[in-house]
Amino acid sequence: MTETTKIRIDPITRLEGHGSINIFLDKAGKVARTYFQIPELRGFEKFCEGRPVEEMPRITQRICGVCPTAHHMAAVKAADAVYHVDPPPAAKKIREMMYTFFFVADHATHFYILGGPDFVVGPDAPPAERNIFGVIAKVGLDIGSKVIQALQDTHEAVAIIGGRYINPVGTLPGGVSKPISEQERVRLEQIGQGCVEFGQLSLKLFEDIVLKNKQYVAMIKSEDFTHRTYSMGLVDEHNRSNFYDGKVRVVDPDGKEFIKYGPNEYLEHIAERVEPWTYLKFPYLKNVGWKGFVDGKDSGIYRATPLSRCNAADGLATPLAQQHYERFYDAMGGKPVHATLATHWARLIELLYAGERALELARDPEITSTNIRTIPTATPDEGVGIVEAPRGTLTHHYITDERGLLRKVNLVVGTTNNHAPICMSVQKAAEGVIKPGKPVTQGLLNQVEMAFRAYDPCFGCATHAMPGQMPLTINLHDADGNLITVLSRDENGRVSTRRAEEL
């Protein structure tokens, strides 16, 4: 074996196809540098040119089949801005209601199917049990069936408003395509009530299973899973978190407001770096600058996650969620929280908030108004739409000709915000596990996996609905790039080690 070693992890990703992680070791066998690669590109920024702007809510959804509703909303808000049209209040409420139901569904999917099993079933549990079925076995069939019911109901709610859960179609510039009937409203209220109960149940579960377990709490608070970065999130006029509308607020690693900007100002604050070894770009705070893959106040790297949204806000707008928000910061030692794994807790608080907000909207007397469209009359030109996607702040920027046909498109997508932090988290997790002279074991796979799962980076969503684990592989290379050893785990959790000569 020569002086340095390269380790390559190939997981499956959801957002852009497939991803891989490369870890280089130095001469002493310590981690020198990690590279997290996204090896796919589709080029929506180019091929949307020429398309009618009102079609963008239906086109850009195909960026991500897991969070199509987020693209749908960002696109229609950008299209509103392009046409300088303000939808009637009921239309905005209907959009926000669809969006908050979607948030409940999406966050629940993450907690119960993707990231949560690590905690609920346990990080040391047999991998074959760390899935939704393992969760049901642990929490009981009664709660398990409530989880399945909540997913079904929230999918139904989105479909009532937008036609279907995957790729809903119910919005267009100036409003929404269909009013809510009283009969539908009653059903939506019923589902909303269920969401609030489900949010509370989920937080209770988290409390019982995670917070009462000292080992888990220690892991959450450990330095291996901590990064002191800037935090980003959309806030309303009272600096409370909002997913559908508001201004983007960024707080520094100490929790002080660094900047608050409206959609039209995003280019003054956000820049993206290109690296030759990945198809995904690296956004950073322009006015702090790119200082490499490091955290701290002098580095422009920020995070855009449920945790960062809580950090960036002064509170949440609904009563039950606000109580949990306060409790969260008490328990974690005050604001801001930088413990990556606390993102799971923040996500459940957001789930409760989304449920409460959806219920509020379903009970709003205006929600059944038939005044849901403003016909655009201004000449279309340029607009930016920003929403909080479950996985981070989502920005769509369109420039059109006078017919509303797109000339230029720019997109800064949820998970992309977190590309650099994910690289750093993976590096830190690897540093915590890889020690000179010790063999690389399944522990590395688990820790690295937990490090990036906390971001819910659109990885393996559908995959994890099935029993099994995300397959991973680590390739060890020497300084000349020669493959030495492959350590891999398949979807059934079997780990195997093969030396290069056996391959």
Binding site: D10, C64, I148, I166
Partner: protein
Amino acid sequence: MAKNSKLKVAIYWAASCGGCDVAVVEIGHNLLKLKEAADILFWPAAMDFKYSDVEAMPDKHIDVCLFNGSVRTSENEHIAKLLRLKSKIMVAFGSCAYEGCIPGLANLYNRGDILTRVYEETPSTENPNGVIPTPHSKVPEGSLELPEFYDWVKPVGMVVPVEYSVPGCPPVASQVWAVLQTIIDGKLPPVGAVLGAGTKNLCEECERIRDGTKVKKFVRPHEVIADPNKCFLEQGIICSGPATRAGCGRPCIHVGMPCRGCYGPPEGVKDQGAKLLSAIMAVIDPEADVEQLVQQIADPVGTLYRFSLADSQLQQTKWAEEKKK
């Protein structure tokens, strides 16, 4: 299928958004039935890691491979060929695999245009040195590899032969389960069939009223409050219903939005865009100024071929010419 052995199924994605995988999850409780009836060898297959495992399989080891996503990179192509070799039946699952889907609109531009736009032109990008991601790059610690980004988006059927196709972006849950049941029961129709959909066009099932009104002006959906009970096309709003295969249950139309054609062309129609164009021409008022009306249609290519550009006659001709060269 051999008796006493469970069906071996692979579910795989190439260049896709994940929506087709979520669509499979949406069959809900039926997932358990699927598990009983079939061993799912991959869902999805892991790339490099699985190459060796898949390569180690005997040929035709997999009974049915549901392949979603199109072919955009060298990695997509490699896996499509590998899975073809190892599968008895290959199904192009979902619009990307079947006809290229919306990402197929990228075929209006070449590879260079896309890379330049994404990595150099976009206003948030700070890239003074003009860095473009490349298949092989040197970093201080060694080298890193990326798959090659091709000039074209291709439906999987253009890269390897497929036995069946399932349309939809994504296929609706009830149809996904119907397809899986057909496979489990071993009742697949003759090779070449489209599964999980009807044969006629959407209009034949649509409850909206058509009274033969002729169109004097085309309008875009956001420009008018449309009558929720009347045919979109007869109101001058482009709807892809006449050129789209039935089977989705019309969720878009039910919330007041016109069809955009994600289920592809109906039985017997090769080119969805050409079919839609002829349907549009048929509703135009004979006394209207046709040229003016046609100009009112915003983005004809992106509308007529929203989901099927990569599978259009035009595209086929272009590829055939390239092949000759």
